[in-house]
């Protein structure tokens, strides 16, 4: 069974930081997607460095869990 979700990246103005929201029904899937996301960015030469976890989960229509991370661009 497949499930749909979203990944949202919000650039924090005047900084190299971004806020990443991964909205999927299951936390393990959020974790897996976050790992892939970080691997892809590292392979592209723009790794992200976790600096803090933001309060989670958020409740959204059709989404029971969410992962929010604030990360800093490494370039």
């Amino acid at each position: 069974m497949t499930t749909k979700g979203t990944i949202t990246i919000i650039a924090i103005p005047k900084s190299a930081e971004v806020e990443v929201h991964i909205d999927l029904p299951e936390v393990p899937e959020c974790t897996r997607i976050a790992a892939r996301m970080q691997a892809v960015l590292a392979c592209l030469g723009a790794p992200l460095e976790d600096i803090q976890d933001l309060p989670a989960p958020r409740q959204r229509q059709g989404v029971s869990h969410a992962m929010r991370k604030r990360v800093r661009g490494g370039t």
């Binding site: 650039a11 996301m37 892809v40 723009a46 790794p47 370039t75």
Partner: protein
């Protein structure tokens, strides 16, 4: 008044402190399917694409021309239009000294390594123009790598880019997980 261009200089763009193999080996411990998929991708080509897009975005932001090659200026003492190392992806031309292309900022790729190369007229050396151009390219590169990442991970390769109410740039993509999804 004569114009003097400094020798071409080069510096890396992006962070290549960790090898792609090491990154994917680490991912494979938790996500072997994802690591196998990512190993099949051509990262040199993807990095080149991200840099090409970043230069185009920076050219738009800075409202300056983007050229395919460094414009040779041997009359100013430079010997070659080639980047010191690697293959040229593109060159931004800027500067405001009344001499036209007084700052040239290029991006080159050598294998999987991206680098800046540049040349600056002496009249521009203290103007901060080069550093502003470099920072604009760096910011564009970060954004373009995020867009490319979302294109790779998303269901349909579509990425929405918008400004939120606070004026922040927001990138959004749809994911599909589980079942036969990657």
């Amino acid at each position: 008044m004569s114009r003097h261009l400094l020798a071409l200089r080069q510096a890396t763009i992006g962070d290549a402190s960790e090898s792609i193999a090491a990154v994917l080996d680490q991912l494979a411990r938790e996500d072997p399917v994802g690591a196998q998929w990512l190993r099949s991708l051509d990262w040199a080509e993807l990095r080149r694409l991200a840099a090409e897009r970043a230069l185009a975005q920076a050219a738009k932001t800075l409202a300056c021309p983007l050229q395919k090659q460094y414009a040779n200026a041997s009359q100013y003492g430079t010997e070659s239009g080639d980047p010191p190392k690697g293959t040229c992806i593109g060159v931004l031309v800027g500067g405001d000294t009344g001499y036209g292309s007084s700052v040239q900022l290029g991006v080159a790729i050598d294998g999987q390594a991206l680098s800046f190369f540049w040349n600056v007229a002496s009249q521009e050396a203290a103007s901060g123009t080069l550093e502003r151009m470099r920072e604009t390219v760096r910011q564009a590169f970060r954004e373009q790598t995020r867009i490319l990442m979302l294109e790779l991970l998303s269901e349909d390769g579509e990425v929405q880019r918008e400004q939120d109410a606070a004026g922040r740039t927001v990138l959004r993509a749809t994911l599909v997980v589980g079942g036969g999804a990657r």
